[in-house]
Amino acid sequence: MTAQRFSDLHCSLDGRSWTNPITNATFLAEVKLEQSLKSLFMTGDTPPDVQLAFFHEAMHHWCFLSPVGSTLAFLQLRAYRRAYKLHRDKAASDDEKTALLEDLIRYTTASSLMRPFAEGLALFAQFDAGFWLSKTSAAVSDLNEWANFFFDAQGIDRERISDFPFVPPVRLIGTRLSQQAVESKAGLLCNPLTCANGGYLPGYLLVKSLWSRARAQCHERFKVSDLFLAYLRSFIYDDYGFVAVLLDPFTQEYETANAITTYFSKRFQQFMKSNLEADVERFEKAVLEKEKYRSGKSVGDVLDSGLLRLCTDAEADKSGRERLLDMIDEMDRYYSDPSDNFLHAMNRAALFQRDIMRVGSLPLSVSIAKTGDTTEPSSFHETSQEIVLSSNGKVLLRLPVPADAVQKELLMGCEYDTGALEMMMPYAGLGGRVQVYFPAEVEEGEGEGSLELFFSLLATYRVCAISFNRKPIAYLFLDPSGISDRRADDKAGRELFMYRHAEKAYLEETHIPVLGQILERVVDNGAWWVKETLDDIQEKVLVALDRFYLPLALLYVPDEKLDQCIDVMRKRGFYEILGKDGGLVRALALLGIASSLTATREVIARWFASYGLDLDTAIAALRQYGEQLNQPEILEQGDLVGCFV
């Protein structure tokens, strides 16, 4: 075939959303800020594909912002610094190369090992997690709190959500039942059942199997998939016992890789054997304590309370905490070499901005002019300038700059009219409320700029940052509740965000990529044994992945059928099991999504009917194919239906 390739085209349609485990930087391909400005500032309605991508990437982001996630980021940042020193000092000793190898083994072993699990959690967040199945738990996960904060129920099929009139968040139910969600999940079910290339299907089936197992143990509490998701995340990512193994100074090379692999695998055995009923109660308390923190308690009070220690030996927990503190301390030390000091400072900055999630970014034209040049002066407030943001000649946002605005917080209103967002001074009870901050005097001119939307996972605020020639010129904080309280800690949070935002672009676009290239060069061209050992360990870990994940992913397939089931699903997942019938794969995807929302047969049948499908016919066909390999597993009991896929 001689088709001309399109690869030289910039095409946003091609984008896949991603999260970087080191910087925790995110890219949400589905977010089109140009089309979403009104919803972001005014209504909060967001299309289903954006919500699904948000859940997936926000889950990754949340996992990486944890003791285990931060430890891994630290290890890789330290490897960058060590590689830079080796690159600079060609006569470095073998000890320094060994130290680099050790950091790399720890990071690559753990991140390869955890990748399918991380994807499984993110997919569970995308397709299943919610808090609508039970009223037994008052705890809401951070993930769903952010989602509540971010999205509203507009633009979804009201017919389908009418079965949940009183239980929030209805918008998520509409999203899950959308065609995009079902098609996306049907695609997931046709992924290869291997851990290569991310291990999406094994990771997802593993998490679903664990949910089913957990529900069997403490049914009422873990009916709430949101609580289960938060618990499972915490069980692995908040585990200081794992941190202790990752930072263990007494192991090296293969011994280290073995220790990490063994610990991770044993952790899942602990999950299956532990007394979930008692532990989840403690966990719920911890989550509710954390909520109290938001109204005045310190994070330290919660972290030190020990409530989050789930099945981890107290000694190992203590050791992990100490090693993590030592790690932070190592970054805070003073180093006599200026370049060392700089690298430490930048790495520290990279580590401490990891709570900030970039939701969207829009390149646009910025024009800054004296007010008289473009608009009538405001009758309420003396404005000296106006910032106008446009894209392809179309004005998207107008922002007046008051004469005395620099480094002050200003409460402004906003209106959306004739396709543009108008910021208004002063705040006069309009549709939206925004806290605006101009970090410095704004210079007049025209040029390239950007509008970026951020979200802080710790402080729960949304921020739009406007930049002109790569320099931030205005911050718009979109958090009505925070603004009305006007608490001192909110203000401090906003100041901290602006301080960290100023460095964020440099860290993500220059600092980390350049150090990454240096690291690759040092590993490729440095001591042969570093690369050889690393490659060998990596190869062994990849082989171990399928052996670890696949039996857990197919927990309900009998042992004697396991190998056959793996063989059948290896290339095209459920497509092969279901007789190469794409329609049936879609029906299974819908049934899986529906079963996470409710077990009531009548309701699920209505959702099937809304797609022109008959539930009974679909279940009969799925059962027929499922008989041979016990996959997919479908449960029916009276008026209830369940599905483990």
Binding site: G15, R16, G187
Partner: protein, 122 residues
């Protein structure tokens, strides 16, 4: 006609959509590019971009894929076409499976406006 599409590009295909497209079109008429993310990043499941060199056979295969086995009777699919003169056009095709002229409607939206039915019958 210089603006008649010569190459069709379908981004964002899920693994299931890819499998079904392979069933409708001969492998020699199709090329796939996985939509990747940078090494070291984690992200959404892999999606694929299909590239189809347009011919009558390929067009028939593409239309039959577009009109089969969907969850909804009305849906949209965004495609990109490359014309003979190098013009690239991004189009969101609206498909209505209830319509008796669904095939011809899709062809019109793709830019085959002269006599779409004769193209399909040839």
């Amino acid at each position: 006609m210089n603006d008649t599409p010569t190459i069709l590009r379908l981004p964002g295909l899920t693994p299931l959509e890819r499998i079904e497209l392979e069933d409708c079109l001969d492998a020699s008429l199709l090329e796939f590019e996985d939509q990747t993310v940078d090494k070291g990043n984690v992200g959404e499941p892999i999606t694929t971009t299909a590239i189809i060199v347009l011919s009558t056979v390929a067009l028939k295969g593409f239309i039959s894929w577009l009109l089969k086995n969907r969850l909804s009777k009305q849906y949209e699919k965004t495609v990109e076409t490359l014309g003979k003169d190098g013009t690239i056009v991004r189009t969101t095709i609206k498909v209505d499976l209830n319509s008796s002229t669904a095939e011809a409607d899709v062809l019109k939206q793709l830019g085959f406006s002269d006599d779409p039915t004769s193209l399909l019958n040839s």
